[in-house]
Amino acid sequence: MLRFTLSAALLLLVACVADTGAGFVEVPVRVSGTELAPFEARDGWVVTLERADVAVGPFYFCAAEMAGDLCETARGEMLESVVIDGLDPSAREVGAMLGIEGTVRSAMHDYGLSWELTETAPRATEGAEALGGHSLVLAGVAERGEAQVRFEAAVDVVPNRAGVITVRRSLDTHELVEGDALEVRVDPRPWLEDVRFDLLAEKADEEGEPVAFEVDEQPWRAVVVGMTAGSRPELRWAEAAR
């Protein structure tokens, strides 16, 4: 009885604990691609994509205006990388982001290939592993007049040094709260718009075998630039009712 009384008293005392500041939240993450009709690249080729699977993640969301060195402590993160079918516009829930309530102003993420401080080279996370160790796997056909070239690509987007996250970007300011959701949408079209398909056509054989993007050649570089500096995945918050 004495023990119960003591415990009850202590429980009452503990109930007086005051405000401890912002708390942790769990935010569902939904991904989608884009319904893509054939489109015209800058050099006049009309491109029809048949496959555009991209590995995205891990994601970090930051309070700083610019992610990077100032994001040693993140506001939110999803450490898994996932594969997004860039041609499927339907939203698919792939997991949850864990975060702390508060302002998000920027974000950073990899394309499935990460280079931790403790490693001597980048490595594939689960998303990239599902794509054979690559960030992006593409396949399609480009046509101009009578000419036609089938192409395929397995692109690696790697951080340029250990500890660096590939894509760092500012976002519209958002107050992260419980009940929010994160929507990640990719659109592969801009990644291919600057590809010079003439160069691929020069390599095409008469059997119509797909031409592969070679590392560091223009088509490959155009895609990497498009993914990192051009059209990066759209990150949008579906806000909870406030």
Partner: protein, 628 residues
């Protein structure tokens, strides 16, 4: 923990040994760093605890209050004591207290070693304390010497999710070399001399001189593998093993004089005291990142020499009116001077072209003045009421000062309202409410492994203390402290720290709102065995800490601990058993929340995570003591 102040690193409680200050100013590990590992409990005769900052003699670091350790040995003779217990712990004590000398004269030496609980917690330390009192008549002299050395391994902290997933055991250490290389080392010497004078009129005074040397070195890794070298940015991932070094050489003096009681009227009596306390410190400090196990330095963060001078003077009035009202008050002023040679100041990053030589030498000075006043009314015998207000200070970490800056002392304002009821020798009850405001509090920052400023804070609370001796030989005491501790204005978000860990108005991190300590002990003669009686002694103590707020809205689990002891003694021989954490409760002695990266097989998390350092499990210690 005192009045909502966490004294783990000593920054908020001024501790002295027979009047010699023990806190370390501008210490690399934490301002006011305090290590009491040198203490030999058998020679501590009493603790003089002054809560709050109402006494003009209280100087630097007296924020929550101050404690003066008094040394003396009442049981004269030669004592040998051996203790052995859990985790291969061995303690040996030798104590000599000459029978023809006063209690204050003794020489004691102790040695202790242990494998420590769990993994990587072994260590050993030794200390010697010698005090010699001499002189007779109005002048008395005292010479005090202390030598101490210790070295221990440390398990550091573990991520709670790693413990929950079974990746590492609660009492273990991470198997990485950068974790198993955690350890600490300390060596300290202190020499003090004091002459006291007491005249027949009641006037009294003292003058003292002391010399101190302290060597501190620690290796700790809180964050795993997150750091990048400032000197060579491509040096990364070598383990965030922080090495801190601090060497302080100090010279101090103090003098005071209290007048004979002055009686201008039959109902009025009082004295006046004037005092001065001064110290000069030379502090060499460094902080590096090192790579275990060869301890190769892969980054330098601090390399500095600080010379500091603290000159404090006070006036203390102590007056009694009609034996009912006692007024005590005065004022204290401290001047602090700093000369800083920051050898890594104006650091030039590798990507920038040199246009000067790295270094930032500077000096700064400041003054802290604060009134102290208290009134005690005793309307009837045994019942008294106290009202007090005082302003104290904590000196700044010198390296944070700019050239010519008016040294920004941390000002503490404190007020108390209390009552005490003493019912003869059987019951002593005290109840006090207190308010304390600091204009710059500090909290532990794991990335740097040291205390950092977190802005002004306010504590409002109360203390209930009861001491009872219901029957002869039995003593019981309970202390209950409540504090509402609020962080008033944490540093705002900035470019360098866009996501501060603290919110305005939140509870102060690491401060439990409730602290309870209860003790009961008994001693009696068991049986008469001829030349000596067999005496028995038992005791138990209970400690409760309520959940502690952590950064980022987290909260540490409450702590309940029960300790017990028992001993029997026959003449010169005594045997005893002490049990700490009798119920073998698993608890975290330290809980922190911050980002870390320990599991190198997974992507790095940048979210704050809970980290714990295990508290000791049930620990037994058996002792044998012989006094001749």
């Amino acid at each position: 923990m005192l009045r909502g102040f966490d004294a783990e690193h000593g920054q908020d409680i001024a501790v002295s040994l027979m009047g010699l200050p023990l806190n370390q100013p501008s210490h690399i590990h934490g301002q006011g760093y305090l290590d009491l590992g040198f203490l030999i409990p058998e020679v501590v005769s009493s603790l003089r605890v002054t809560e709050g900052v109402y006494d003009p003699t209280q100087g630097d670091f007296a924020v929550a209050g101050s404690v003066d350790l008094r040394l003396g040995v009442a049981r004269r003779g030669v004592t040998a004591k051996v203790g052995y217990g859990s985790f291969g712990t061995l303690r040996v004590l030798g104590l000599w207290a000459p029978e023809d000398a006063r209690d204050e004269t003794f020489a004691a030496v102790q040695f202790r070693r242990s494998d420590g609980f769990g993994q990587n917690r072994g260590g050993m330390n030794g200390s010697a304390l010698v005090q010699y009192g001499f002189g007779s008549g109005p002048w008395r002299y005292r010479l005090l010497g202390m030598l101490h050395g210790s070295r221990y391994d440390a398990a550091g902290v573990l991520r709670r999710d790693d413990v929950e997933r079974g990746r590492v055991g609660f009492y273990d250490v991470y198997p990485d070399a950068t974790a198993t290389a955690q350890n600490g080392f300390a060596a300290r010497a202190l020499l003090g001399f004091e002459a006291t004078h007491r005249s027949a009129s009641g006037a009294n005074g003292a003058v003292g001189l002391w010399l101190g040397f302290d060597d501190f070195r620690i290796q700790q890794n809180f964050t795993g593998y997150t750091e990048r070298s400032m000197f060579e940015p491509d040096w990364v991932g070598r383990g965030d093993l922080i090495e801190q070094q601090n060497r302080t050489t100090s010279l101090g003096l103090h003098a005071r004089h209290r007048t004979a009681p002055y009686r201008p009227a039959s109902w009025l009596e009082g004295t006046l005291e004037l005092g001065v306390q001064a110290r000069l410190d030379q502090i060499d400090q460094a902080q590096n990142l090192i790579q275990a196990p060869q301890n190769e330095t892969w980054d330098q963060r601090v390399d500095a020499r600080v010379r500091g001078l603290d000159l404090g003077a006070y006036l203390d009035l102590d007056w009694t009116l009609a034996e009912v009202l006692t007024l005590r008050g005065g004022v204290r002023a401290d001047l602090l001077y700093y000369d800083i040679d920051d050898r890594l100041g104006n650091f030039i990053p590798r990507f920038r072209r040199d246009s000067f030589i790295v270094g930032f030498r500077r000096s700064a000075a400041g003054v802290a003045v604060g009134p102290r006043a208290s009134a005690v009314v005793e309307p009837i015998e045994g019942l008294s009421f106290t009202l007090a207000y005082g302003e104290g200070y904590r000196s700044p970490q010198a390296r944070t000062l700019e050239d010519g800056e008016d040294a920004p002392f941390t000002k503490v304002r404190s007020a108390d309202l209390g009552a005490r009821w003493r019912l003869d020798e059987h019951l002593d009850l005290r109840l006090a409410g207190y308010w304390t405001k600091l204009d710059d509090d500090v909290a532990f920052e794991p990335r740097e492994g040291r205390l950092e400023r977190i802005g002004p804070s306010r504590r409002l609370g109360g203390v209930l203390y009861a001491l009872a001796r219901p029957i002869e030989g039995v003593t019981a005491a309970v202390s209950v402290t409540y504090v509402d501790a609020e962080l008033l204005e944490p540093p705002p978000a900035s470019a360098e720290d866009p996501q501060p860990a603290y919110d305005e108005g939140q509870s102060l991190p690491y401060v439990p709102p409730w602290v309870v300590r209860a003790d009961v002990g008994g001693e009696r003669e068991l049986v008469d065995l001829g030349a000596h009686a067999l005496r028995g002694r038992v005791g138990a103590g209970y400690t409760f800490l309520s959940p502690r707020p952590l950064p980022f809205g987290e909260e540490a689990a409450p702590i309940h601990l029960l300790d017990a002891s028992a001993s029997v003694g026959w003449g010169p021989v005594a045997v005893g058993l002490e049990i700490y954490n009798l119920l073998d409760r698993r608890y975290a002695a330290l809980e922190l929340t911050y980002p870390s990266y320990w599991d190198r097989s997974a992507p790095r998390s940048r979210l704050p995570h809970r980290h714990t350092a295990a508290g000791a499990p049930r620990t037994l210690m058996a002792t044998l003591e012989v006094t001749l």
